[in-house]
């Protein structure tokens, strides 16, 4: 059987290698500013992985809030406190060894779990036409266009309805009993908005107290 390269898998490999490599780089490097930069690349690649998983809204949110907002804030903090002794702080090697042992065993457990469910180890197969040699030449693009991997995903509207308390993706569930658990997210949404407001006021208050203390 002819098996073509799946570009979805190719980009998954690319982004996952970027994300993992730069996450490891964040751990290994001692310079705090470089750490921040590696973190940016790692989280940006994670956004790419979100896009590949069909979550385009979440991917864009990740780029906007995480990479564009949170990390700029973080780098701001780094630059405000970046005096020579704090730019690169070394960790005693005993702590490194301990952390490596704990992290390694945690990773082993997580990898074991990740591959223990058979239904998860392989994604949905490509449409039949993609596997024939003629398919790659002619009508494969037709068949692939309807594959969820390559069709543009459209989740923004559903997410918006979900945040307003309507689950337009769960309409097929007729049983009110099982529908009760999948109501919308209006209350959490409101709580989060008030929470953000409180955080904003709190952060502003802390920043004000800072000036008073220094006078």
């Amino acid at each position: 059987m002819h098996s073509p390269i799946i570009w979805h898998s190719f980009f998954f490999l690319l982004f996952s290698i970027l994300a993992c490599a730069f996450a490891v780089a964040v751990v290994v490097t001692t310079n705090i500013v470089r750490m921040a930069f590696f973190l940016v690349v790692s989280l940006g690649s994670t956004a790419g992985l979100f896009f590949l998983a069909g979550a385009d809204m979440v991917g864009a949110m990740q780029l906007m809030i995480y990479v564009g907002g949170t990390l700029v804030l973080l780098i701001f903090g780094v630059m405000l406190t970046a005096q020579q002794p704090f730019v690169s702080m070394h960790t005693p090697s005993g702590e490194w060894i301990l952390a490596a042992i704990v992290g390694g065993s945690l990773l082993a457990v997580l990898l074991q779990v990740a591959w223990s469910v058979d239904a998860w180890t392989q994604g949905p197969p490509l449409p039949e036409a993609a596997y024939t040699r003629e398919g790659t030449q002619g009508n494969a693009s037709e068949a692939l266009a309807h594959d969820p991997r390559f069709a543009p995903s459209q989740t923004a509207t559903q997410l918006g309805f979900g945040l307003l308390g309507e689950r337009v993706d769960q309409l097929s569930v007729k049983d009110p009993e099982s529908r009760a658990g999948m109501s919308g997210y209006l209350l959490p949404f409101e709580i989060v908005s008030v929470h953000l407001l409180v955080v904003l006021v709190g952060a502003a208050y802390l920043a004000r107290a800072r000036y008073r203390a220094s006078e």
């Binding site: 994670t46 992290g103 945690l106 994604g123």
Partner: protein, 114 residues
């Protein structure tokens, strides 16, 4: 087994999520700079987010399989928003600490020890 010719499943995403999570945990444990610890937290949250997205994705699961559906994406959104709030507060605390103690080394934050 060639990864390029094989459709990506949930497990692949879980592996990436696990690596990010472990990197974050190790980062939190080993860094002495308070902002470095904060970066570790961000990595941990992203590893968890990746799992939520993978469990809810219709791209990675076979048709008809039971998935988290939209809930996965919604939870991921809330995690992102809460992470932003957490970073803002943690940064304010760190700056305050830096102003009072003239250091960002978390090992020196032991004034409350009895």
């Amino acid at each position: 087994m060639n990864l390029l010719t094989q459709p990506v499943g949930v497990s692949h995403y879980l592996v990436v999520g696990a690596v990010l999570f472990v990197c974050g945990v190790v980062c939190m444990a080993t860094k002495r700079n308070a902002l470095g610890v904060l970066m570790g937290i961000e990595l941990v949250l992203n590893g968890a987010n990746l799992n939520f997205i993978a469990f809810g994705s219709h791209v990675l699961n076979r048709a008809g399989a039971r998935t988290l559906g939209l809930d996965g994406q919604l939870i991921a959104l809330f995690v992102i928003v809460l992470a932003a709030a957490e970073a803002a507060i943690a940064l304010a605390i760190t700056l305050n600490y830096y102003n009072n103690q003239a250091t960002v080394d978390v090992d020196h934050a032991d004034e409350l020890r009895g």
